[in-house]
Symmetry: C2
Subunit: 508 residues, 2 copies
């Protein structure tokens, strides 16, 4: 690998001699000294060492301030390089502007901790604390008070489980709803049960149908309810179809309302759905895989008003909250139901004569045996960011999408797929190249417009500049669906996106 | 944190001045220089710097040799710290004896790469290559020739999927088997299907019953077949129960043989099971979650003879092969069946006008939507260790368990739960404290013996010295089940375990 002399004594001296930006070289050296390879030169460029007139950011200043605490005057080889990071917050790290140094310093601390763990765990004089599988099995949800508060269930009610994803969480909901109404299904199967009917909007996620197929209910028993122009389930149609199903001898057992549909980002009217479910005694599920995280935002949580009346809620922290895949929870209002539904009490796993509080053995309420500890990443992020940190992150994404919407709604060559401000960060639009923009023949216009988004997307992939999803929906031809879930995006990125679509699509 | 002056110039000079073990200080410095915190002092102690008469291991020598390549005479601040690690093998890393330095050096390289990635990905001039979710969706299994070879399916046949764990893989198998026999179940549900019957041994994993409950088949339809004294399914009983079920009007559709039962580690006789399945036209599944990895061992793969006749196989690389949770595959012999069984062709995900080879879009054969990329860890480990590396690791675990078995089978105070050498690494035994050892009253002996394993386990947890599972099985009271899946364990660890059980259980 090419070296710019970054690691050389000359480089070190150059840094040490630079007094124009007095702290930067030292801090830079603190972090960058730990790198091998030509990463050094990249960091060098990134951190602009030598550009003395660059002003250090707040985060950089904190790292620098920490390094100032050492009592050694040498810039790089000081004896106390243990930075005190207690003054650094997650908001100081990337994507914070100029958060590079803080991030690198922080990550190196993490690495040190992990390596220390490895060293310790290979030391046979240390204690065995937890066996991996035992800890994994105990990784069910034990709700914090905060979780309850967030959904709005009363008196600390509630139960739940982390599952491998939203589709499985929705399937669990359907499974528990069926068990609640017909507990004998567990032993006797569907032959002991009348023909069931489940209801969800035509814009809902396909996992509702997949779940019905898997559970032996059948996709024909999932009745799709009409959505209005903005993608919300229509309560009148829901009630009409429930009555109709009953007349046909089916037993309605499950309504899945969607909080944040996949394509439009629409929120079904939860109070109206809850009223109907209550009237007809049907389990109300809310698929909040995508939109559930808006509960963290005081500004946007009204979009989920009524969620507190649901029997179960799917919520995927791995979407809007940026928890690394996989982190999906199914929350169930009635405690103990999941346990009764799924437990088999295999005696080789769930011994009753264990040495500790058996309420930590939550494994038997899952379909799985050993499980990935998906709650841990969320817990850690929550500790680091706090509820307000998540809120700020979510509000930022919504602000960015509103910015995009406002920029394109009246812009020439752009056409919105549905009227009004999007409720979530999904901004759905067509781009009409000049050659299509003024076509009179509506059918010809549709036909050609359908090919525009795939063609632009292909060019995006070739150019590697940006990536935006597209799809048709119902009778609407292919349109772009820009979804923002990365709070590191900026207004400039949105401006760039609009210009880039113009650039790539001009000649189509 | 306390510092031993490890980072001081004095420390550096001390290392540089030590010529007794000429290379060690330099190499030690290379790796340890990167650490902050008091990890330094631990490493210092661990690596025994200053004990000049210590002989460097082969792995350490390789790291040292790499560092010798620099053209700088200074021990620590050389300009070319880019170690050439191409000569290091995974077997040089921990748990290799004295693999500490190699491991640390290697891990630091990994960290450098990751940090370089972060730096690059925040550089807006770089290309967008893959969107996370797109890559995740494409993470189905596209088998390498090697996979096929391993199961033994002909002509490169086969299909599969990575799922969140063995229980879900087994559920997928049952789902696909049902669809194969009654494809209408997908739309019409179980009401369109006669009453089904599934068969598995009484020693099989509880996930077979959980799957039947979830899929609407019902646990009563899972018929448990007798196992012999060593835990293997009895083919005579299997056939008898299939005939009996048919006489009752049930439709047998699924037999799950177990390759490596959870408690005894027994392997069902696959050829005999396959003969019966063929005769009665029933789907043959092999739950090889635990034992499937023995296919990697030329010495032990005979235990799975007949697996090539199965219609589906569950295999969990996250167990015996030490791939980090989660990594579980369901392999299905008939191609396209999973796709037909599970696909819903949601148009917003599985567009047909995409810019690339659509055969990479394997997501629709899963129940899930977004998924964790579980195959990647396995692929990476396979690349690093090779088939022979995995084989060596597995053979080592079996060797350790055989060592344990040989040590305790005739030892006073120990009693084996079943006769003969265990087929897998499960060694099942009772420990009888002296006070119980000679009891004449059989019932009193049983009663007291039942409490011994939990009591010793509690002491193990308190002492933190070791952890061994225990459970009852059928009419057998609580016994220890020592399962070895960590190739870093040593014969000395086994000796220690036996002595520790003696020590902790003496007075019970």
């Amino acid at each position: 690998m090419a070296s710019t002399g970054f690691w050389s004594r000359e480089g070190e001296n150059a840094a040490g001699d630079s007094n124009q930006s007095p702290s930067t070289p030292r801090a830079w050296c603190l972090a960058a000294q730990k790198f091998t390879g030509d990463l050094g030169s990249k960091l060098y460029a990134l951190l602009n060492v030598g550009e003395g007139n660059k002003t250090a950011s707040s985060a950089t200043k904190k790292v620098l301030a920490a390094s100032e605490n050492c009592d050694c005057n040498k810039p790089c080889n000081c004896s106390k390089r243990n930075l005190d990071l207690s003054n650094l917050y997650s908001t100081d790290l990337l994507p914070a502007s100029d958060g590079d140094l803080a991030t690198i310093t922080f990550l190196q601390e993490v690495v040190d901790l992990m390596l220390a763990y490895i060293v310790t765990s290979f030391d046979r004089s240390t204690k065995v604390h937890i066996r991996g599988r035992a800890s994994v099995r105990a990784a069910g949800v034990r709700h914090s008070e905060e979780d309850e508060e967030i959904i709005g269930w009363q008196d600390g009610q509630g139960d739940g489980i982390f599952s491998p994803g939203g589709a499985i969480s929705n399937m669990y909901a359907m499974l528990v709803a069926r068990f609640k109404m017909f507990p004998e299904v567990k032993e006797k199967g569907m032959s002991s049960v009348p023909r069931l009917a489940a209801f969800t909007s035509e814009h809902s996620h396909f996992s509702i149908k997949k779940g019905a197929a898997a559970l032996g209910i059948g996709t024909d028993s999932v009745i799709c309810i009409k959505a209005d122009e903005s993608g919300k389930m229509m309560p009148l149609d829901l009630e009409r179809r429930i009555v109709e199903a009953k007349q046909k001898g089916l037993v309605p057992f499950f309504v899945s309302a969607t909080a944040g549909t996949t394509v439009y980002g629409a929120f079904d009217p939860l109070h109206a759905v809850a009223d109907i479910c209550k009237k007809h005694n049907i389990w109300m599920h809310v698929d909040g895989a995508w939109g559930g995280s808006l509960l963290m935002s005081r500004k946007h949580r009204w979009k989920l008003d009524g969620v507190e009346r649901a029997n179960s809620v799917t919520w995927n922290p791995h979407k809007m909250m940026s928890v690394p895949l996989q982190s999906s929870a199914l929350l169930v209002r009635e405690e103990g139901l999941m346990q009764n539904c799924n437990q088999l009490q295999a005696c080789y796993l769930f011994q009753q004569d264990k040495h500790y509080d058996l309420s930590y053995d939550t494994g038997d309420k899952a379909l799985q045996c050993g499980r990935h500890v998906d709650i841990f990443k969320l817990w850690l992020m929550w500790r680091a960011k706090g509820t307000f940190g998540f809120e700020a992150q979510i509000d930022k994404c919504l602000e960015l999408s509103e910015y995009l919407y406002n920029k394109i709604k009246d812009r020439e060559g752009y056409e919105m797929v549905f009227d009004g401000k999007p409720q979530h960060t999904n901004v759905c639009f067509w781009y009409l190249p000049p050659g299509i923009r003024y076509l009179e023949d509506k059918e010809e216009r549709r036909r050609r417009l359908h090919k525009v988004a795939p063609a632009i997307k292909a060019r995006m992939m070739e150019n590697g500049t940006t990536m935006v999803s597209y799809q048709p929906q119902g009778d609407k031809v292919n349109f772009f669906r820009m979804v923002i879930s990365n709070p590191a995006a900026t207004f400039e990125d949105i401006d760039f996106l609009i210009e880039e679509i113009d650039r790539l699509g001009q000649d189509l």
